[in-house]
């Protein structure tokens, strides 16, 4: 008999085929499932790390952007402040200068007025003296007699005072 019957049970053959299945199961687990799953897991972690990196970069960029924005804002404020201060300073100086120049002008005017008054007074004094002298000489000549200057001083002064009032 060279062939098995169509239905022939043999316990050893059954055990061998059972073990065959177990062996193939172990082979598949070791050489197909484990490496493939490892690679899938590895790729998963890689993808996640890439996503993490991208999120981190995004965060950093956002942070940088906001810091720049705030810096820009403060710079704008500072510029505004500087301009304002400069304007105020200029205004103040302007006022001071205006005040000073006005003062100066006034003092010049005052001085000029005083000068004018003094020269007027000087002139009056000079004119008065001239008049006294002239009148003294005139009276001397008119009276043709010696006049005692001391006696007649009061008379002359009164005359000049009258002259002053008329002038």
């Amino acid at each position: 008999m060279n062939n098995l019957d169509v239905i022939s049970l043999n316990i050893w053959q059954i055990i061998i085929s059972l073990l065959n299945l177990v062996i193939l199961f172990l082979l598949f687990r070791k050489f197909l499932f484990e490496p493939v799953k490892k690679v899938i897991a590895k790729r998963q972690t890689e993808v996640e790390s890439v996503y993490d990196k991208a999120a981190k970069a995004q965060d950093e960029a956002d942070e940088l952007k906001s810091s720049w924005e705030s810096k820009m804002k403060t710079a704008q404020d500072e510029a505004d402040k500087i301009v304002k201060e400069a304007t105020e300073k200029a205004d103040r100086r302007n006022e001071v200068m205006l005040y000073e120049s006005r003062e100066k002008a006034e003092s010049i005017i005052r001085k000029a007025k005083a000068d004018a008054e003094r020269s007027k007074a000087d002139a009056e004094e000079y004119i008065r003296k001239e008049i006294i002298d002239v009148s003294a000489a005139m009276t001397e000549q008119i009276l043709a007699r010696e006049i005692n200057m001391d006696d007649h001083k009061d008379l002359i002064d009164g005359f000049i005072d009258n002259l002053d009032g008329s002038v």
């Binding site: 062939n3 098995l4 053959q13 085929s17 598949f28 499932f33 690679v39």
Partner: protein, 297 residues
């Protein structure tokens, strides 16, 4: 390296053809018999005949092993090769199958189901290259069914022997004998279903081939000499039929066998009781630890 592994995975199949050509005598006419016996090892319980079904099983395993290596060598995380895509597709498909049919608890069954599918389908498909399909040997499918039965019983026992015994009196206690019979019938029916389908396929193939030979002898018998004896009708027609009987039936039976294994193993597993028992055990352990630390203090 890649090509070498692919060649290595094909070599077992060529070796199978060579062995068949060299050692198995060609059968004449209608000859329905089991596998050819190469030699017998003396063992108790009837001895161990090394037959075509054993040898072809080993060749299939070798071929699948090298094919695995071919698929999985040089796996990368970027710029995947086509081989890697196939490997990942196989793994993901089988894992999804296990997940939907068995649940998260049985995820370790992925390689087992893949092995069952691969071994069964490839064994049946050996008929395509003219080899004896090991699945048409009752001992081969019987071994697998026995393993399934062991797994079913193992997972039923996981929640304790009491629940295992109780499960036989399930709807009503007096149905226990029927439950025991159906328990035993499960692996037997699985083994016979697979074996019967493949065997009937090859028997029908033989019958049709024989019929076509006779018909072509009748029609073309008038031709002189060797020309008259040539079975013209056997060219082509059996190939079309073998698409159903070998390809479709083989793949379908492999799928059915794996599917039934998954359903029986996960269906027999008393999940609720198992987790309840686990919780109780863990609580006990914790209490013991607390008591020990208290005693130590």
């Amino acid at each position: 390296m890649t090509v070498l592994l692919l060649i290595l995975s094909i070599i077992p199949l060529i070796a199978g053809i060579l062995i068949k050509v060299l050692y198995v005598p060609a059968s004449e006419g209608i000859d329905i018999s089991g596998a050819h016996i190469f030699f017998t090892i003396d063992l108790p319980l009837g001895g161990l005949p090394i037959t075509e079904s054993q040898v072809n099983s080993w060749l299939v395993i070798l071929s699948l092993f090298f094919f695995c290596l071919f698929l999985t060598h040089g796996l990368k995380t970027k710029n995947m090769s086509r081989r890697q895509i196939i490997a990942e597709w196989i793994v993901n498909t089988v894992d999804n199958l296990v997940k939907t049919n068995m649940g998260e608890f049985f995820m370790g069954f992925g390689p087992f189901i893949a092995a069952m599918l691969g071994l069964s389908a490839c064994s049946s498909l050996l008929t395509l290259i003219g080899l004896f399909p090991p699945t048409s040997d009752i001992n081969v499918t019987g071994g697998w069914a026995l393993l399934t039965f062991i797994l079913i019983t193992y997972y039923k026992f996981k929640a304790g022997p009491l629940i295992y015994i109780k499960s036989f009196g399930d709807p009503v206690p007096f149905l226990a004998p029927l439950n025991i019979i159906s328990e035993v019938a499960t692996p037997i029916s699985m083994a016979f279903r697979h074996y019967g389908n493949v065997l009937s396929g090859s028997i029908i193939s033989i019958l049709i081939a024989n019929l076509l030979t006779n018909v072509s002898k009748m029609i073309f018998g008038f031709l002189p000499g060797y020309l008259g004896g040539f079975p013209y009708l056997r060219v082509g027609l059996p190939a079309i039929l073998s698409i159903y009987f070998d390809l479709f039936s083989g793949a379908l039976q492999a799928f059915i066998f794996a599917m039934l294994t998954m359903l029986y193993v996960s269906g027999g597993f008393p999940e609720d009781e198992y987790f309840k028992r686990k919780r109780i055990k863990e609580a006990k352990k914790k209490q013991q630890v607390i008591e020990n630390t208290n005693g130590g203090v």
